[in-house]
């Protein structure tokens, strides 16, 4: 049959295919680095880039989870307040356990954070899938709930982490391993795991199928409810990891922690090339997107051109231009 002989080149085609869509975010990243260097040569210093990439780690970690949620056809607006809520819970528990457990309070607290993340994600997932509520509204609701809970926990103020834990916990944000900052390593691991699950496992397939066409997924024996709920649970786990990394950076949780991160996270995912209507996810693009956002903010600080009042405008313009470049470079 002729189709068979034709198939070999077809497969090669694919392997060597260079996709502009996939390359888009990395291209935008490269352009930004060049522009940054032109604006301020310090921009490319190891310290500065190290700082920026380390900072982008939170959003990157959360955005890996968001890539699952979005590619399965969902959306999660609650991640920002979930970070605050989980950070609060973690600190509370660590502080509570410190008299009994000493430094062991840190790993135990981390485990609790993870558990809390999984449960928060599960709650979001169930409301969206079993409750069949538009994800935008459902997670807007839980966003309010998490935010209120952290406000309640802190009595409107802050929950600082116990002094005795501070030094021991610090390396999780400030430490390096083989010269690489720990948060970068953690986010790399999360991204690798995410990419593995999304691209190499059955679950990843299901996720994309559910996002692309619910009916087809259902008729293929895939549980839409289970798949999408698991995506939210993964999101919850990612938020917990981000929260655990976040705590040592600022040493406290407050009602304003993580505010508006949800928008950054979604922006990172979309800049990375994942479509908001679901069906395909790009983990590495997402990571690039997170770094891009942080670089833009950094550039605003390093450059002196822009009035302080207009920073948000310039950021908005750059993001729109980045998306345009991506669209039309195809």
């Amino acid at each position: 049959m002729t189709a068979l002989t034709q198939s070999a080149p077809a497969r090669n085609d694919r392997q060597f295919q260079f996709s502009w869509t996939d390359a888009g975010p990395f291209l935008a990243l490269a352009v930004l680095l060049v522009v940054g260097f032109a604006v301020n040569p310090d921009f490319l210093s190891t310290t500065n880039l190290g700082n920026v990439i380390t900072r982008s780690a939170y959003v990157a970690i959360i955005a890996v989870g968001a890539t699952f949620v979005i590619s399965s056809g969902g959306l999660d607006l609650s991640v920002g307040s979930m970070v605050a809520f989980i950070a609060g819970i973690t600190i509370m528990f660590m502080n509570m356990m410190v008299p009994g457990l000493g430094l062991w309070a840190i790993p135990v607290g981390m485990a609790i954070a993870l558990l809390a993340g999984l449960l928060c994600g599960l709650a979001n997932g169930l409301i969206v899938t079993v409750g069949r509520i538009e994800p935008f509204i459902a997670t807007l609701g839980t966003m309010g709930i998490f935010r209120a809970l952290i406000t309640y926990m802190t009595d409107g103020g802050t929950i600082p982490i116990d002094r005795s834990l501070r030094e021991a916990y610090r390396p999780v944000y400030f430490g390096t391993l083989g010269g690489i900052p720990v948060p970068i390593l953690i986010s790399a691991v999360v991204a690798l795991l995410g990419a593995f699950v999304l691209y190499k496992t059955k679950y990843g397939r299901k996720c994309a199928a559910v996002g692309a066409n619910e009916d087809v997924a259902r008729y293929s024996g895939i549980s839409v409810i289970k798949t999408r709920t698991v995506a939210y649970v993964i999101q919850g786990a990612c938020v917990a990891i981000a929260a655990v990394c976040y705590v040592p950076r600022l040493g406290a949780a407050t009602p304003t922690t993580g505010q508006l991160w949800e928008l950054q996270v979604i922006t990172a995912v979309v800049i990375g090339g994942t479509a908001l209507r679901g069906g395909k996810g790009r983990i590495w693009g997402t990571i690039a997107g997170a770094v891009i956002l942080e670089l833009i903010a950094n550039l605003m600080v390093l450059s002196d051109f822009v009035s302080e009042y207009l920073v948000a405008a310039v950021q908005g313009v750059i993001i729109i231009i980045a998306m345009l470049v991506q669209r039309f470079s195809r």
Binding site: A3, L4, A10
Partner: protein, 524 residues
């Protein structure tokens, strides 16, 4: 020497007699279409005359639909020109072609599911009175147009909520709403049954009588034979030739299409049916669609389900398989099972091939491999990691086994021709290795050569000791391959035929009349 054989060598257009002759209303000259490096059509030249029914036939993937889309402005040719009434035309958008008087009824349903039937019919050309849309009048016109086609859906129903057949009729009504010079039908009857087909054919003859040119694509060669003044055959994107319709028999058409002698359409029936019940369903109720349906299919048996459109066959099985609300007492191989979702059905060894390949069967934006293994993820990829290499192998195998015609294995499912999508879907369902296979409209849109192939597949399945249920609106097909046929009418089983009572007239009678007096049963 048959005409087909005579024309095999030279591509000359056979002289046409007995059909209206005049200046072409639409002329395609030297048309080629390439997607990247893939050539889909090459150097096609065709004259379409007013008042003529011109059938285009060819194998799946021959390029028929592409050619039609090209004539009606949905795609632009890579080379070649179109002209109308002598002047060159160039369509970049479908509405330009429509404005010029060319309407296309798509092979795949192209309607907005969230809108009502009336809204879909009048989309982009709403009737207004004083700038205000005139819903009352639109609904009246819609009802009239639909009634003409024998479609009884409410004009205010949401398209997402009506059956596939009704959607097809809505789509046809849409094309007939305005006066056109050329109306193109791309497999309009694939989802229709007897009565609707007859009405449609009558409508087409009426168009012809009004001097409108009709282009007609179908894999149902009997329709082509009844309708066509001329038949143009495409093979692999190239013109084989244009023949006067009345001079070709169905066998000849098939031979010219395929380019070789065809074996018999229906495989030799082998007596593999046993009396061992494989799947038995008792008191199945699907609210609104089926009441109290019971049946049993045996090991080695091919059981047919016949019925008019709207009889509730699809919904019955979707209900049984947990795809829509419904209740049934199910026994598989003698032991009772519960099915709440398609997953459980697949795990229990029941495969279901949906009739709606575009909406429920395939991920059109996804490549072929992931589509192929989507139902079989659990069994095909043991563990959690995907076996890409195995998947690629399976795809190569499926492409060979099911003769899926494609230009490259890297294409997306949506880029396959309709018939080849159907074959991919069949391969997908069978990859789960089910012991009971339920196939809803197995050969919808499949060309005649591949039909025979699919029939022999089904035969092979039961030969391996599986059981097979075939839901089909083509009575001949059921008669050709089934051991036994159950006929449904308005959600209940109205009768059963086998052996010598399995005739078109008996099935039709059971499917339509209130109280059919059909001698049921027969001898094996």
């Amino acid at each position: 020497m048959s005409i087909a054989a005579r024309l095999e060598g030279d591509h000359a257009v056979a002289p046409v007699a007995g059909v209206p002759v005049g200046p072409a209303v639409l002329r395609a000259e030297g048309i080629s279409k390439r997607y990247g490096t893939v050539t889909v059509l090459s150097d096609v030249t065709l004259d379409i005359l007013p008042g003529e029914i011109h059938a285009i036939i060819g194998e799946n993937g021959a390029g028929k639909s592409t050619f039609m889309r090209l004539l009606s402005g949905y795609v632009e040719p890579t080379e070649g020109t179109l002209s109308m009434a002598g002047g060159r035309v160039h369509f970049t958008k479908p509405d330009q072609a429509q404005a010029a008087g060319i309407a296309l009824v798509h092979q795949e349903i192209l309607l907005a599911e969230a809108l009502t039937v009336t809204d879909n019919l009048f989309l982009g050309r709403e009737l207004t009175r004083g700038g205000i849309v005139d819903d009352v009048r639109m609904r009246r016109v819609a009802a009239a147009k639909l009634a003409e086609l024998g479609c009884e859906v409410s004009p205010t129903a949401l398209v997402g909520a009506i059956s596939l057949a009704d959607r097809q009729l809505v789509q046809i009504a849409r094309a007939l709403l305005d006066e056109h010079k050329v109306v193109i039908f791309d497999e309009p009857t694939a989802v229709l049954t007897g009565e609707e087909v007859e009405r449609l054919l009558a409508v087409i003859f009426e168009l012809k009588a009004r001097g409108i040119a009709v282009l007609y694509i179908s894999h149902r060669l009997d329709e082509v034979q009844r309708l066509a003044d001329k038949v143009t055959v495409l093979r692999d994107g190239k013109m084989v030739g244009t023949y006067p319709g009345h001079m070709l028999t169905q066998t000849e058409m098939a031979r010219v299409m395929v380019g070789r002698e065809l074996a018999a359409l229906y495989p030799q029936r082998q007596a593999v049916r046993t009396d061992q019940p494989m799947l038995s369903v008792r008191n199945a109720v699907v609210p609104g669609f089926a009441q109290d349906v019971s049946f049993t299919v045996h090991k080695g048996e091919i059981l047919g389900f016949a019925g008019m459109i709207g009889a509730g066959r699809t919904e019955l099985f979707e209900g049984i398989l947990g795809l829509r609300p419904g209740t049934a007492v199910i026994e598989l191989n003698g032991s009772p099972i519960q099915i709440h979702s398609q997953r459980e059905a697949v795990d229990a060894g029941i495969g279901y091939l949906t009739e709606d390949r575009k909406g429920k069967g395939l991920l059109l934006q996804e490549r072929l491999g992931p589509n192929l293994t989507l139902s079989a993820l659990a069994s095909f990829h043991p563990g959690i990691i995907l076996r890409r290499a195995r998947e690629a192998e399976a795809l190569t195998q499926a492409v060979a086994d099911y003769d899926i015609r494609l230009k490259s294995l890297g294409v997306k499912a949506g880029q396959l021709s309709g018939g080849n999508q159907q074959k991919l879907l069949l391969a997908k369902v069978l990859l789960t290795n089910p012991s009971v296979v339920i196939i809803d409209e197995p050969t919808r849109g499949i060309d005649i050569a591949n039909k025979a192939q699919i029939y022999s597949f089904i035969q092979d399945l039961v030969g391996q000791g599986k059981a097979c249920i075939v839901i089909s609106s083509e009575m001949q097909e059921l008669i050709g391959i089934c051991d036994r046929v159950l006929v449904m009418r308005e959600g209940v089983i109205s009768g059963e035929v086998w052996g010598e009572t399995m005739t078109e007239s008996n099935i039709a009678l059971l499917a339509t009349s209130e109280r059919a007096h059909v001698a049921q049963g027969g001898t094996q």
